[in-house]
Symmetry: D2
Subunit: 345 residues, 4 copies
Amino acid sequence: MLEKFRFLTAGESHGKCLMAIIEGLPSGLEIDLEFINSELKRRQQGYGRGGRMRIESDCVEITSGVRFGKTLGSPVTLVIYNKDFENWQKIMSSRAEDETDEKSFTAYRPGHADYAGSVKYNQKDLRNILERSSARKTAIEVAVGSVAKLLLKHYGISWSSDIIQIGDGKTEEEFHSEIDKAKEAGDTLGGKFQVCFNNLPVGLGSHVHWDRALDGKIAQAVMSIPAVKSVSFGSGEDAYKIPGSQFHDEMFLKDGKVNRKTNNAGGVEGGMTNGEALVVKAVMKPIPTLKKSLNTVDSSNMTETTAHFERSDTCAVEACSVVAEARIACVLANEMMLNFPCDYI
Amino acid sequence: MLEKFRFLTAGESHGKCLMAIIEGLPSGLEIDLEFINSELKRRQQGYGRGGRMRIESDCVEITSGVRFGKTLGSPVTLVIYNKDFENWQKIMSSRAEDETDEKSFTAYRPGHADYAGSVKYNQKDLRNILERSSARKTAIEVAVGSVAKLLLKHYGISWSSDIIQIGDGKTEEEFHSEIDKAKEAGDTLGGKFQVCFNNLPVGLGSHVHWDRALDGKIAQAVMSIPAVKSVSFGSGEDAYKIPGSQFHDEMFLKDGKVNRKTNNAGGVEGGMTNGEALVVKAVMKPIPTLKKSLNTVDSSNMTETTAHFERSDTCAVEACSVVAEARIACVLANEMMLNFPCDYI
Amino acid sequence: MLEKFRFLTAGESHGKCLMAIIEGLPSGLEIDLEFINSELKRRQQGYGRGGRMRIESDCVEITSGVRFGKTLGSPVTLVIYNKDFENWQKIMSSRAEDETDEKSFTAYRPGHADYAGSVKYNQKDLRNILERSSARKTAIEVAVGSVAKLLLKHYGISWSSDIIQIGDGKTEEEFHSEIDKAKEAGDTLGGKFQVCFNNLPVGLGSHVHWDRALDGKIAQAVMSIPAVKSVSFGSGEDAYKIPGSQFHDEMFLKDGKVNRKTNNAGGVEGGMTNGEALVVKAVMKPIPTLKKSLNTVDSSNMTETTAHFERSDTCAVEACSVVAEARIACVLANEMMLNFPCDYI
Amino acid sequence: MLEKFRFLTAGESHGKCLMAIIEGLPSGLEIDLEFINSELKRRQQGYGRGGRMRIESDCVEITSGVRFGKTLGSPVTLVIYNKDFENWQKIMSSRAEDETDEKSFTAYRPGHADYAGSVKYNQKDLRNILERSSARKTAIEVAVGSVAKLLLKHYGISWSSDIIQIGDGKTEEEFHSEIDKAKEAGDTLGGKFQVCFNNLPVGLGSHVHWDRALDGKIAQAVMSIPAVKSVSFGSGEDAYKIPGSQFHDEMFLKDGKVNRKTNNAGGVEGGMTNGEALVVKAVMKPIPTLKKSLNTVDSSNMTETTAHFERSDTCAVEACSVVAEARIACVLANEMMLNFPCDYI
């Protein structure tokens, strides 16, 4: 849990709604609802997304902590109602008397939380794990990240993200053709993307204790996104083969201030922002739900079988980058609040 | 701060000693001092280390929390005395009257914490940042990790680490020749290494909330090691170009239990251990202190100059892997204590 | 934030609803909705409560984390809708265009959060502080505490609470007459109450580090209840005048087990439960909103005036004791989960 | 663990030393060693203290985080060596081969951590609990609190403490005679004391979430002091019998600013400092080690017997108030750093 920008999220994939409570915000922060909804929309886009995306059109409702457009300083609650809940009301009912086998499944899906989760939580119906492990919960995380972004905007901080590679493709056209090929084969693809934050003050994070290093906190925030399997800063992923004389970002003077010509460090040195653009790269694994089935085990009778699947996407790298922006924004908002006084805007 | 296996470290590079307090251990855990010292020795080894390593021979003293060879359940204090302190006693004195310019420097070293740290902490003498940002502090972190390993051993958990690549070299012989070449050129090299933990129970971590995901916690622990710039799990770094039908680790039966033939996931699915080996890879950047100098800025008069350097190593990847083992062991010990009752062994 | 039983609450007094997210529960815990609602009802009762209580009849809705009557192990969301919201929708609107002066006030109410809160959060309209500082938010805290109680029940733990004194009254009849007298005079009364928890295992908490002491955690949970100004354990409040030979609870044998005849310690020794009943006493100050007005300052023009008031209660000690039970239950549920880790019931 | 002013303490009563690591301090804070040592001396004084106090004369050594009299911003380590360690070196040895029965005991001492601690940590020799549960560890807590006080001084905050009552005595002369009487009878006494902090800014703490209330945090810090059994604010302990019209501190104007004539609230309203003196009262129970013995159980053979005792004090209320000052100072320093973030002084 972050120290000042504290939040908890909740909600199952086919439950009534997704919710989040954010505690620790200053008062007086203007909450731009349109901005938050536009971020939710970005998360639902991207070439390679499947049918579900067209059904859902997420929008957020704020039920506490905001009055006349500004935060009060009290906890802010965000709610995203699942438009599809009607069809799942019985299946996801909280009442004991509604118990049903409908939509239950017992064949572990490789690459998902099914196996580990059912062992940990002692569950027979794997839906009981799927419902919370689904990437659906990242929708409310994007809403929370949008609020963090509103705070960062107030400090003049900006951001952007880009897809670097999907399959063998390195340009937008190649991304599309790689995705088309995968879709036809009933397969899925992951990808590598990059998120940048600009105009951060120097010195966020710290070198004095391992758990205060900013790159560590950001690595946790990004690696824990469902499907992310690799995180690096700047040219970090290649740093094993670049000699020191070429890797480290030399310092020069420009207008009397420290200036650099390269940014292999990705904006972090000694666990702190160094004034250069913060550059975070991540790799998302291919979505583990494919039309092409995978060999697995059916837990109900311990026999070999093939994996169950829900209607799904072929590639969701763009959405993943939106979630990564949101997660990093939360970490940065927390650091800003730790470093700069902030009971009110 | 981890929830149950709590610890704080302290100590400057040339200070009197490095210390750590570990709070939260169960009672009755046998503390094998020889094992801890052997871990400290491992950290000081590796082809490519410089002169300093031959001066220091670290060993730990336990000053609390252990009686007659076993933990009491009270906080354990570990101390590593700096054998070189005599020569630095005046320079690192805590007394105001001993203030001196000796060993001070003002030219920022690129790749180090100097610049960001001096801005954050308002320091003119960059030694005031160097002394704590130095990788020297990882010695006591390795001692702490050794205690964590003793707890993991108790649960039958084991580990290993290997260097995967240094420069263009992929075998031990090639590592040595790459390092020799760099040393001759007055340059430095980083490298890529891998750490594995075996026999972990299924279900450490959780899928239910982002900050309980085990891969996230491990990513923070490893990325925050000085010089680490990239972290991934299993085949994660390549996951952007491997289709789903090939990436996900299918499940089969063997002796009536779930069994896998591949481990691209690196032992983590849905933020939880899945019973396979936990495989963490990391990239260490080349050491930022080179004989070959780098362009920089002198903060005392804001002029362009070249970077100061202390006697240093050419390559410290092996040491970095020992530190990574230690950091991951701490995270895992914490998870074991969160998941299994443990006031006493 | 408690380590395992984590929760955040949200919601303004006259907002749309009160909400809480509880994260960290094991799966398989039966959630008895009737029990939770009966606890909410207890909170609304008590001789001396005013009109508002008859308007509100709180009941909770669970929107996540529970399926077919049992927890999934994922975050549980509790919602209590404010039945009066219709009348406040415009006044408490989150939209900038709805800004209004209606129901605003600027005269600080002594004994409330108004003054300190408006300085901290830079607010002119003191309603912006009142809405979150109101004891209304304890309704959702009682709901959260009820879930904690369900977990404690599972472990065979039970509880009770009693009022010890109100004004000069020490019996129920005297409580009522003291309250009647105060009501007639347009005044308010506080009171002293006691909460007991029985059948706790020995050793919850710890003596090894100050912040793990159970009495400390409970003291924080109870003292932070709006209007509580004193907390003690057992005969603690009188311990300054009782000699050691009479205060300490001697140990004897009964059926081969340790047995005590007194419980001045209130069930806690050395920061840990000792097997005796946990006895916590607290003093609630008189409600700071009286028909009889108090001298104060109007912040809008810095002139002396008298305090604004909302329709209010004369005495709310019984409700306060219900909130105290809930808060202590949360701390104890957290301790049980720390000491007897359970991912599933 | 406090959020910004983080610290861990360690050390057994008869171990080599007591130690603490404080992490999170700003750089540039002048560390006045004499002041810290004078605080340690205060803790050792007080009418009614026994022989041990004359043996120990505590003084602190700083081994990290301070250079030339000022903090670096890195973790600060404080060490207090136990002057008596020579006599206990074998008995408290960390080596398995030194195991001995010397100084061991098995009869639970009522009022101490012995019973609960031995059950929790599965210990036969109760010394293994005594050594850490002893109030000896409060010496290093006072040292940590002194550092916190140095930070508070920087903000112009001041403090004081007084004994209010011991036994039936309410003046210093009566304190002494009560203590003399108890000593003669081989008995012990506790007492009630008060700690005040002045010139705190308005708004430390918060009303928005239960765990951010300042009175809650202070209650935890004080209640967890060994032997404290009751904590209250201002006139809180009597608030159950004072009507609202008399309890709440009315507000007036003086020199154009808010001014009060009473301070029943003890300086906290709505969980926040309100500008008045922070007044915390606490009750310490009589020391549980008496010459007069108490009935108890011998755990080695489960028979009834009488309690073991070490040479001890008759009354330690003054020392307890020094520890309370220290604990509260830590909480306040943490709040100041949360509200007025400062990386450097």
